[in-house]
Amino acid sequence: MKINAFGIDFKNPVIAASGTFGFGNEYKDYYDPSILGGISTKGLTLESRAGNKGIRIAETSGGVMNSIGLENPGVEYFLNQGIEEMNDIESVILGNLGGSSLDTYIEGARLIEEHNKKVEKAEKNSKKIDIIELNISCPNVKEGGIAFGITCEGAEKVVREVRKVVSCPLVVKLSPNAENISRIAATCEFEGADGISLINTVSALKIDIRKRKPVFNNIYAGLSGPAIKPIALKMVRDVSKTVSVPVIGMGGIVTYEDAIEFIMAGAHLIQFGTASFMNPYAGRDIIDGIKRFMEEENIKNLDEIRGII
């Protein structure tokens, strides 16, 4: 199940999705997070954020809507303190990086680069961020976020500028609300992205008809979970056929069968998010399931089935 992507070795293609797995240790009563191929941190931004007010999560048919609003302690605090929690984790670490403007994206990325350099030179006794997952697709923040992920022009600029300041692999996380997700993916690749991850949550609305109000203070919130799986799978296939860099597929992956579908649609790696809310053992179960499937189907290497659809 080993796989190399972006020049980095993953134990297996299964990565915990940003925002659903904290900073890696929250599910450790259920399984050792080091069994995962990778872990994407909660979205970090230059400044610390308290997130959105009001209800932040709600159920829909087959899905979950969330409006967390990128609550996080800020890149700097995280690199100096929070990351310590992750010291014992042996999985690949993806630093999920958000921003509210071009400048804050660049500055956040620069801080990560600086941190990585210090760790490499042993000037800092800490852990490296192996990959930056650039989040230009968060539907839950007022400024920035998804604004950069809707049009090619938006994506072009931020990827180009962030690319200039970081030397680690750069994966760009795309929104299903992009005007044309394949075209944006191609733009990101052209601007130097080493990979594409998709999809972030789908912009959505839920109304409390008795209160005559939207359930979420921000009106719209992001839809994830099994409900969006067929939509995500279609987009992952489209993007995989468009770009030549590796694709990280996600959106509604709950079982190993779902994960295999994404790999057959062209994904090199996959992420599971909402799945952990449904089953805290989800990460472990998906890994075990893929292994079993490969045995049953006599698949030696996932390359044999990747992108065969």
């Binding site: 308290a50 979950v64 809310f277 449904m278």
Partner: protein, 236 residues
């Protein structure tokens, strides 16, 4: 996967569900309950009502789809639950102090197990008139009164009638308006907060709020906090 031993209606929209198995947990902690199938995407947080030899019990009120689903389950049906989660009430600290428990509406649920673990607390339970028949209230009252003097207040504001200042501590659960009043009547009040939850393990930040000027996760650092540190105005 566990089996339901019984699931009985104890009020107009109140139920007690007993599930077979060996369970852990202290008062104020909660479990995440869900249907055996995967169609429920969010599990529902429900406090421990009681734990005994080879069973756990939950008292819940039907408010929406999830709890309505639970209410339709029957003896022998399968259910999935994870837990216990959260910190719980500071039982050890107050085991031999004079403690009042104040619960309103569904907030009475965690207080039974809490009373069981404390030493003869005074128990004040508030309930809307429509919530249960007199007969049903008597039955519920009897369960609680095994562990402490129990006062049932029906339909009116109980905080006006009782002197909470005389207790070493007050532990409360219920509507925010109730908990807010209670904490003003005794400085040493512990409140149990409710937030919509995703993960219950501190991973998703669905349930955070400000307590004592810091961001906390109700599922992890809570759900029980010192009343003095919670600013109920901010809770929305």
């Amino acid at each position: 996967m566990y089996k339901i031993a019984f699931n009985k209606k104890i009020g107009i929209d109140f139920y007690i569900m007993r599930i077979e198995g060996n369970f852990e947990g202290s008062p104020g902690q909660f479990y995440m309950l869900r249907s055996e199938d995967s169609f429920m995407t969010l599990s529902r947080p429900i406090s421990i009502y009681d734990i005994g030899d080879n069973y756990i019990e939950f008292m819940y009120k039907t408010v929406g789809k999830g709890t309505q689903y639970f209410s339709k389950m029957q003896r022998g049906d399968s259910i999935t639950l994870y837990g216990p989660y959260g910190n719980g009430f500071p039982v050890d600290e107050y085991i031999d102090k004079k403690v009042a428990l104040v619960g309103g509406g569904m907030g009475i649920a965690p207080l039974m197990y809490l009373a069981k673990k404390l030493n003869n607390p005074d128990i004040y339970l508030g309930m809307r008139k429509e919530a249960m028949s007199p007969e049903q209230m008597r039955e519920i009252g009897e369960s609680y009164s095994r562990y402490g003097a129990t006062y049932f207040n029906i339909g009116n504001d109980m905080t006006e009638k009782i002197d909470l200042s005389k207790y070493d501590a007050v532990m409360t659960c219920g509507p925010e308006i109730l908990m807010k009043k209670v904490k003003n009547l005794n400085k040493n009040t512990y409140v149990s907060l409710e937030k919509h939850m995703g993960c219950a393990v501190g991973a998703c930040l669905s349930c955070t709020c400000d307590v004592n000027g810091k961001r906390v996760r109700v599922c992890k650092e809570g759900p029980v906090f010192r009343g003095s540190e919670v600013d109920f105005k901010d809770e929305d």
